[in-house]
Amino acid sequence: MASKIKVIHCLNQFFGGLGGEEQAHVTPRLVEGAKGPGMLMQSIFPEVEIIATLIFGDNYVAQKTDAAVEQVLELLAPHFNDAAKDQQAQLFVAGPAFNAGRYGLACGALCKAVSKRYLIPVVTAMSEQNPAAAEYRRDVYIAATSDDVTGMEQAIGRMVPLGINLLHGEKVLPETDHYIARGQRRNYFSSQSGAERAVDMLLAKISGQPVLSEYAMPVFDRVEPAPAIKDLASARLGLVTSGGIVPRGNPDRIVSANAQNFGTYSLNTLDTLSKETHQTAHGGYDPTCANENPNRVLPLDAIRELEAEGAIGSIHPYYYATVGNATSVANAKQFGESIAKKLLADGVQAVILTST
């Protein structure tokens, strides 16, 4: 039997089995063999052997990326260079991270660094909606996945063959290998000149036929910066948070992940938030600190202080809250549009939006 492909698999604390948000701070560590999704990977692809699993805390890598990357490169060193043949890594696989932002960023950063330092093929997997996909797709092959963990088998089924193809130096394409396009162009010989092809396209367009450009235009959805507030002392300020701060009991039942709604909550009689009045509904971070003192996520106490001192003209009487935990871009866009309408109707000129 041919020897198996030696893989190092990289997972966050949750998928690596260390724990939930209370373990999100842990530093990277390397353990022997496969964990969690790695077991599934080995059972679907028997030609693959996970020699070690790298596990990291989501918060640690998202917040101390540079330090974390250095630690990971050091941890992996024994699997390169002078390693015994059965411990020599051939392929680095990270995730899948689905639509988890911190996890996706960590997978992207670690893949990029490992490929650069150790010159082996690297592959990760995440949803195209994951903010890390836009950040890392040019540097790293990212297999496209569903938004959540229900797509685990499909994600592994795309990520591993992609990695094996890269290892064997096979040609890969986004369309056939299901990875997120890296923005690269491939040369080819055509029997028709560019001018002929352009005229053909134009004629097709005029006659209402479908036209596929040879150069896909990137979609940039950017908004121009709004002008600076000239006089904050006479301006009306609105408060919005994606950190899940809601009145105690979560009256609108905003869900802890993939939020479907936002809440509108009165600030009229409030000078501060406390554990008696408010809590977090967010399921994507350890809620202990936020529940103990919700001002740590929505800093109402400091804002009221500055209002009383005259630094801020006035505060819009409601704040708006949702949970930014794997919430789809489409939902967030719709929440933003509705919130903006309410703010405009009350003459709000400036907004502080806080995120965890």
């Binding site: 890390a132 400091a302 919130i339 405009l344 502080i352 806080t354």
Partner: protein, 75 residues
């Protein structure tokens, strides 16, 4: 959400713990905060110290709102 609020013509500052995500989604005024579970606080400090820290961050957010920018800016 930041982008839709800004698109409506309201000047907005995004105070957040993971700056790369904020940049990718297209916030223009970005203020980095302390940590994911406590962006405007630090449970290792005394309540008074923490309050000062929080107020400083809010003041930085207000400064961002009153500063003219032409492109995405991390304050």
């Amino acid at each position: 959400m930041v982008k839709e609020i800004e698109r409506a013509g309201i000047t907005v500052v995004h105070a957040c713990s993971i700056v790369p995500i904020s940049k990718t989604v297209g916030a223009n005024r970005i203020v980095p905060t302390i940590a994911i579970p406590h962006p405007f606080g630090d449970p290792n400090k005394s309540l008074a110290e923490e309050k000062i820290l929080r107020r400083e961050l809010v003041e930085k957010a207000l400064y961002a709102l009153t500063t003219a920018i032409e492109k995405q800016t991390v304050f």
